[in-house]
Amino acid sequence: MTRTVPAPSCHGDAPAAVLGGLPTVALVGSPNSGKSTLFNSLTGRSRTVGNWPGTTVEVGRARWQAGDAELELLDLPGASSLDGESPDEQLTRQLLRDVPDLQRPDLCVVVADAAHLARGLYLVAELREETGRVVVALTMRDVAASRGIEIDVDALGRALGATVVPIDPRQRQVEGLATACREALAAPRPPARSVSPLADDDEFAAAEERLSWVDAATGTAVRAGDGAVRTLSDKVDRWATSPVAGPLLFLAVMWAVFQVTTTVAAPLQNLLGSLFSGPVTSLVQGAFGLVGLRGSALDLFVVNGLVAGVGMLLTFVPLMALVFTLLALLEDSGYMARGAVVTDRLMRRIGLPGKAFLPLVVGFGCNVPAISATRIMGDARHRLMTALLVPFTSCSARLTVYVLLSATFFPDHAGSAVFVLYLMSILVVVGVGLGLRSTLWRSVGGERLVLDLPPYQRPTLHVTVAVAKMRVVAFLREATGLIVATVAAVWALQAVPVRGGASFGHVAPADSLFAAVCRAVAVVFAPLGFGDWHTTGALLTGFVAKEAVISSWAQTYAAADPTAGLAPDQLQSAVSGAFHASSGGATSAAVWAFLVFLLAYTPCVATLGAQRREIGLRWTAFSVALSLGVAYVLALAVFQVGRLL
């Protein structure tokens, strides 16, 4: 048997020189089909690896002593089709189909994973369209058997018109392959399978024909266990993704996350709060006393600004770490993917484009990447509509405020209160989405989405820790960057007096420029039950970032008593008093109204920046107006109805 191979490269990176005109056997198969494991098993790892001449694609090559025959074995790049466009697939196509017949390998061994049989056999369908010799090496039969898949190897071989050899290269059980290859090489080339003529450029029809051929060929030879053997993932998914039990289970899981978070983290949060309001404050004040700056503007900025504001925010680190860890556990176990099915079902039911749920899910972590993620949507109107909806998804920054107020006003049900806020966030997204659909986007169709769910797995410590750590670090970076800048700005505004008799840095907070501005704006919030200047100040700084709501509160209340730091319970007491006074006694209604406003209004400047990048300045302005309008109307309704109850 003679053959010609493409001219070997004169460069060192060629896949070795021609091996003396030996019959050539090419191993082909989908990526990860076990091809390279088989190659190593057959050749004892004596492979030469190099780029194929003229390409950057690696090809393995070695001698294979197949019984009494010496063969040249090529490990071609993984390809799921000869029509693929990746460099790997192009080279495989070139060597198996595009070169003249005499330059092709004498035999193709298609490595097919028995647990994913049709994938491997698609290549067989393509190869059998011509007269080349084909042997099928069937791997992973044990995995297929564990899934209830039984394969009649002889029947499959007859249907394919090629010898099928079960092997297990992982256990070096490859004996039958050498015999099958020798016999195939000794036999005349088999006739090509009959294919109805198709238009040359009709790739869909060609793929349709090939897959139909594979389905028919495997139909009699493969028994898939009529569903009797189900994996654990299948069993759990019957409940986790069902239309009724799925959403209930998802809600129960999320409720448990918030319940555990608020209960477990509370003592740690109090401990950190005491640390900042006690020893840290005393230490800083002592240090300023030592250098003779006690009571100076710098002292007040550091103690009442940085230590009180940023310190208060840092007390949330244990809580954020816990919630991030629990969510990472759910993600790593594969459960969050089931949550995506539940969300997608909801989106589809209300007629919103299915792809919109992808950025919206990301939005519950952080709105900024969620806005960027709208790029995956091909339709510009879908992209715009989703970018307008993302700010209504409750990002993790808002969680800190939810927890502070829930722990203050509903101490026995803080977890449930936070859970209700997340539910409300979903309802607001749905409501605004439906509103936009019925007004501005009437012609937007519901784009269908099908999810390929990963199997469940035992969460791994290193992945969970790495993901949680990454998010905690991001939270800390925000607290020590943007929030410090905001604290400085608020401090500067609080240091400017608007009445006579005071100087810069030595003014009562209520007489400062900050308070004057906030008091002017607070009138707008009076009908909502929170027309207090401290509360308004927190909302105004919340435009920068939602974490700034906490720091702003801590800062303005701490400045009122410059002689001491502010412990968490003192802050809670001060905030509670403000809500009570501004609501005329309907405190709970005002708190819920505030929380709803916080949930719905503009998330942060970074989100606005992302929106400007993605949808332009005009639509960003519309988004701000939309979120403020929705937040105001909802909060008004909550307070006015709530105070009557």
Binding site: L211, G339, G365, R448, V450, Q457, F475
Partner: protein, 94 residues
């Protein structure tokens, strides 16, 4: 009776939410559905997106986790080897 490729495409256009539901709707074996999806993606009939639920991967702009902001998001260390959700949708022609 329609071909496996056509049947899978029709199931995508109908009410299937997951590949398991596509399998139920078409009566095809899981591996045939899987192969059909692979070919439909290759042919440009389906779009395939990797979903990071709650994660801040992808075009992160001002996000504190992004590498631009000094974070480790997207690195091999941060990504770990968790399960990956893949969303498939029918590609709309312009």
């Amino acid at each position: 009776m329609s071909s496996p490729l056509r049947a899978v495409l029709d199931a995508f256009a109908a009410d299937a939410h997951s590949l398991a539901e596509v399998q139920q709707a078409t009566g095809l074996r899981a591996d045939v559905v899987e192969s059909a999806v692979e070919q439909l993606v290759r042919l440009g009939r389906l779009d395939r997106e990797q979903v990071g639920a709650g994660c801040t991967t992808g075009g992160c702009g001002g996000c504190g986790s992004s590498p631009d902001a000094g974070g480790s998001c997207g690195s091999a260390h941060s990504a770990g080897s968790g399960p990956v959700l893949v969303a498939l949708s029918i590609r709309r022609t312009a």
